[in-house]
């Protein structure tokens, strides 16, 4: 209930609040002493609370890195769980400072919704999961199936495009919360569960018998997931964007959570610039010189974040694939700090 009225409240906030939320987010964040991040309502590997209410995941680490870059302290990050439907209004209305919630970067969101995407922290694509006993081996055999999905997502639009393009009919059942989608799929209300492939791996763990389900090979869309901020605040946009770039650059330069302090004395000028021992890159975005060093100290570099949360050694066990660095055959690439 509270969740369903939230977009309305956020809409009301848009109507009632004074024009301030968009002005200088960095000052607001510093002023209130916490960084409020919008996250999912529980997606293992990306943003998921444990039984004590501690959040973990790739998106959570992205948020913590930003908090560390701003405050030098990752514990200043606070999390607001948002449904797919609520997330944009929550960001627009200033309820959260940054949206680190497995959100696909699309043109309409970047323009009409008044958002700015600060980069991509996970290259994903939409897939399908079905029960093994249906004997389906390709998404092209899904004509006539009922499909469970999340409302208010690109997923919902992609699946409509895909079935229409391939001239297949289907019945969609769109829930607001990911947990409800999984419950309905698990109960057999739907034949197919569709979301980003990383999400399928994560949600599969929540099913009663994970081994009875398979993820079909087709990837039907491009889903670059990344943090988003409000338009009209270039400084804050830069803070979020460059924190993410710093994490990716750190991996490329071999800076890790463990060696970040000793790397400050490195001879490599690129490392020195990143860690703030050369140049004044932190000051240029309104932060301290050791902004990137703090972020890396808090969560490690991008590769460490990936391996800890979604990599092959975790429960999810997702191969790095596209998310490898460009130098290793992937497409993760960050502009240089200089």
């Amino acid at each position: 209930m509270q969740k369903t009225i939230l977009p309305l409240l956020a809409g009301a906030a848009l109507v009632l609040t004074a024009v301030s939320a968009s002005a200088a987010t960095l000052d607001d964040v510093k002023g209130k002493g916490t960084l409020q991040c919008g996250v999912s309502q529980g997606l293992p590997g990306f943003s998921n609370p444990d039984s004590q209410g501690n959040w973990s995941g790739l998106d959570v680490d992205t948020c913590k890195a930003i908090a560390a870059a701003v405050f030098g302290d990752a514990s200043k990050a606070a999390f607001t769980p948002l449904s797919a439907k609520e997330r944009f209004t929550a960001l627009q209305s200033g309820e959260v400072d940054v949206l680190t919630r497995n959100t696909t970067w699309t043109m309409s969101r970047d323009t009409d919704l008044g958002l700015n995407f600060a980069g991509v922290n996970y290259y994903d694509g939409q897939g399908f999961m079905v029960r093994k006993d249906l004997g389906v081996s390709s998404a092209l055999e899904l004509s006539g199936a009922s499909v469970c999905t999340n409302t208010g997502t690109t997923t919902e639009l992609n699946v409509a495009d895909y079935f229409r393009k391939n001239d297949m009919d289907y019945e969609v059942v769109a829930f607001e919360k990911a947990d409800e989608v999984v419950a309905a799929y698990d109960a057999g209300r739907c034949d197919v569960y569709t979301t980003d492939q990383s999400g399928l791996y994560a949600q599969k763990l929540k099913l009663a018998n994970p081994d009875d389900h398979i993820i079909l090979p087709e990837i039907i869309s491009k889903e670059p997931l990344g943090p988003a901020v409000r338009q009209g605040d270039d400084q804050w946009f830069s803070v979020v964007k460059w924190t993410l770039f710093a994490l990716i650059n750190a991996e490329e330069l071999g800076v890790t959570q463990a060696n970040v302090d000793e790397m400050k004395t490195s001879d490599n000028p690129a490392v020195k610039r990143l860690l703030g021992t050369e140049g004044s890159f932190g000051e240029s975005i309104g932060l301290g010189a050791d902004w990137a060093a703090n972020a890396i100290k808090a969560v490690g570099n991008y590769g460490e974040m990936y391996d800890r949360n979604v990599g092959p050694d975790t429960e999810l066990g997702i191969d790095r694939g596209l998310n490898k660095l460009w130098s290793d055959g992937g497409i993760q690439y960050a502009p240089p700090v200089r």
Partner: protein, 403 residues
Amino acid sequence: MAVQDALPGRVGSGGFAALNDQRVRGAIFQVLLVIGIISFGWWIIHNTAANLRAQGIGFGFDILFDSAGFQINQALIEYQETSSYVRVYFVGLINTLVVSFIGILLATLIGFIVGIARLSTNWVVAKAAYVYIEILRNIPLLLQIFIWYFAVLRLLPPKREAIDLGPLGLLNIAGWYAPKVIYGPGFPIMLSALIFGIVATFIIRRWAYKRQMATGEQFPVLWTGLALIIAVPIVSWFAVGILMKGAPLSLEYASEGNFGPRGGARVYPEFIGLLFALSFYTASFIAEIVRAGILAVAHGQTEAAYSLGLRPGHTLRLVVVPQAMRVIVPPLTSQYLNLTKNSSLAVAIAYPDLVSVFAGTALNQTGRAVEFILVTMATYLVISLVTSAFMNWYNSSVALVER
């Protein structure tokens, strides 16, 4: 506002005399209030516009004509992914109205039965009704929706092992696959026969009433009416069937598909869950209203009816209920409005009502919160006002006629 003359002793004490006049003061306060409301409204509009501009979000209703791009499972009018948001609006609105309308009928029926049962002299019946009311009205509606949807969902068999309801179709976890009605060539003739039967029944009823008032003779309206409404269409059915070589109506059942049954008229479990939750919940309130209404009719009325020789059934129908309706109708109206507005909880179980598909999915895909919420609020306002107007009309028709 009571109009009073200023106290005699204070009249004429300089230029402030006017302020002491209650009428003048009243007028001043009203003007101030109107100015306050207008400036508050202006501030809201201005502030919203400024906020939207500052965040680079557009404003305008032309977005409603863009193509929606998503699918909706229960669309009672033609709808495709390429349809516009306006179409989404009507699909959602119709879904809201359908579940509210059927919900109101069902809640009224259950509510009257339970409310009368609550007053039954049979101890078990009265207590059962009491327990029903106390449990249903004290559990939050959202919880009841979840219970109906997820409990009902899990009790039904999987898609490929549907329960065969015989002529009623199939039932499984994905809902009820009711037979779909296919209109044949002679359907208009049969429809006219049915309408003829209904109209004829009404005319006979008026004639019988007048005759009874005039002569006291009764006429079996019920049986004549049933015969007209049922027999006339059946006769026309066979006539049409023979003459036009094809039944005016035929039924199409769901067939076997790869993923369980396909086709037929689908009744989705989301609809069933929401309908049951809304009806049973609201019925518990209606039952109490009905009970209060019946108790409000003085016992002397019943005794008088009995002493005139009316049987208990007639006493209830002709003496008690017409008087009780005057007490029942006004609170019943607010229950109907509540049910309609509560139907927006549909979003919790994926029933595509107005809030779910229009103020939810469509809003989210476009990001235009202000426009979509405005349209949705206006729609609920209109639905509520129309319901109220209808119930007020009905109330005045059952109200005591004062001479």
